[in-house]
């Protein structure tokens, strides 16, 4: 059968009708379409979360083979403070601070002089008190008696 242009046009229109009828249309919303965009956002968020989680895990793992870049040790009164700078990645370093207090406290406690308050001689009478105050440039006896 000879095909006319009109038959070709009619066939093209039938094709268009079939396609249009098979199309589902979402309700109109002037926000950006969710779909591929949402999938991409979820993908990026998942990557970010896994990176942060992985980084945290890495930072918390004991790494005996990783040598610190720098180390300082400071002793202040009863505390020994050790600071180490450790390189985790090419771009990232972190500082680990360790303090030791308890042991030094106990040492300090042992070295403290014993209280001598009880050994200070107490004046027996008001006359003795007066005499002692006079000897010590009129400093009240009560003050002198304090350790």
């Amino acid at each position: 059968m000879k095909i006319s242009n009109e038959q070709i046009i009619q066939s093209a229109r039938r094709q268009r009708e079939a396609v249009n009828n098979s199309m589902d249309v979402e309700p109109w919303s002037h926000s950006h379409r969710r779909g591929r965009g949402l999938a991409a956002v979820i993908g990026i968020a998942a990557s970010l979360v896994s990176f942060i989680a992985g980084y945290g895990l890495h930072a918390n793992m004991s790494q005996p083979d990783v040598q610190p870049l720098a180390q300082t040790v400071k002793v202040q009164h009863d505390t020994i403070m050790q600071k180490e700078t450790i390189r985790d990645t090419i771009y990232q370093t972190r500082t680990v601070t360790r303090t030791v207090t308890k042991h030094v406290e106990s040492l300090t406690a042992q070295r403290e002089p014993q209280s001598t308050t009880s050994e200070i001689p107490q004046a027996a009478t008001p006359a003795e008190q007066m005499a002692c105050s006079m000897l010590c440039d009129n400093i009240p006896y009560d003050l002198l008696a304090q350790p």
Binding site: K2, A12, R16, V19, M23, E26, R36
Partner: protein
């Protein structure tokens, strides 16, 4: 207030709806979406390789652009021409990298229009299937112009405005596209 504001939305013309949308009526814009979304999605589906998700994205893109530009809408302009101009540009951007098609159009425009029609002797039962195949194989600019005229039923002046070429060029391209289609359909004669 003009008279069209008193008519129900469904009885208003596209241009009246667009004029209302331009003054901030979202319901008027929704009515336009209801009228054109399926048609544009079908157009994109056929132009962008039968990918429904891509067609849905492109359709939404058309309406998003129209919504954003609604304040600049000129009332004398036809809404269907305006929407299909946006759709045509989206298709063009999709195929932007294809320099071959630009060359093909240039050489096609340079050819004289042949008055001789290629005869095709084909069983009508297989015409739909064969034509669908042939249209898919057509270079994108020819497929678009064929689809805009014969499937979307836009007029020659409308297509000239959408594509940005003179009406004479549209006519000659349509004629040559039809000849290419007939030539390709001939391959199905003995199948």
């Amino acid at each position: 207030m003009s008279i069209f504001h008193l008519k129900p939305l469904r009885q208003q013309t596209d241009e009246q709806l667009m004029a209302r949308a331009a003054t901030g009526s979202d319901t008027a814009f929704e009515e336009l979406y209801r009228r054109y979304a399926r048609r544009l999605k079908g157009f994109f589906f056929m132009q962008l390789g039968g990918d429904e998700e891509l067609a849905a994205d492109a359709t939404h893109d058309v309406f998003l652009r129209a919504y954003e530009a609604r304040g600049r809408y000129q009332e004398e302009r036809r809404v269907d021409t305006w929407l299909f101009t946006i759709a045509y540009n989206i298709c063009k951007n999709h195929y932007r990298s294809n320099a071959y098609e630009a060359q093909l159009l240039a050489s096609l425009d340079a050819e004289p229009v042949s008055s001789q029609q290629i005869e095709v002797d084909l069983d009508a039962a297989i015409l739909d299937e064969a034509l669908a195949q042939v249209l898919n194989e057509l270079p994108a600019p020819l497929h678009q112009i064929f689809s805009l005229h014969y499937q979307e039923e836009l007029t020659i002046p409308q297509i000239a405005e959408i594509v940005g070429v003179p009406e004479g060029t549209v006519k000659s391209r349509l004629h040559k596209t039809m000849n290419i289609i007939r030539k390709k359909l001939k391959q199905y004669e003995n199948k």
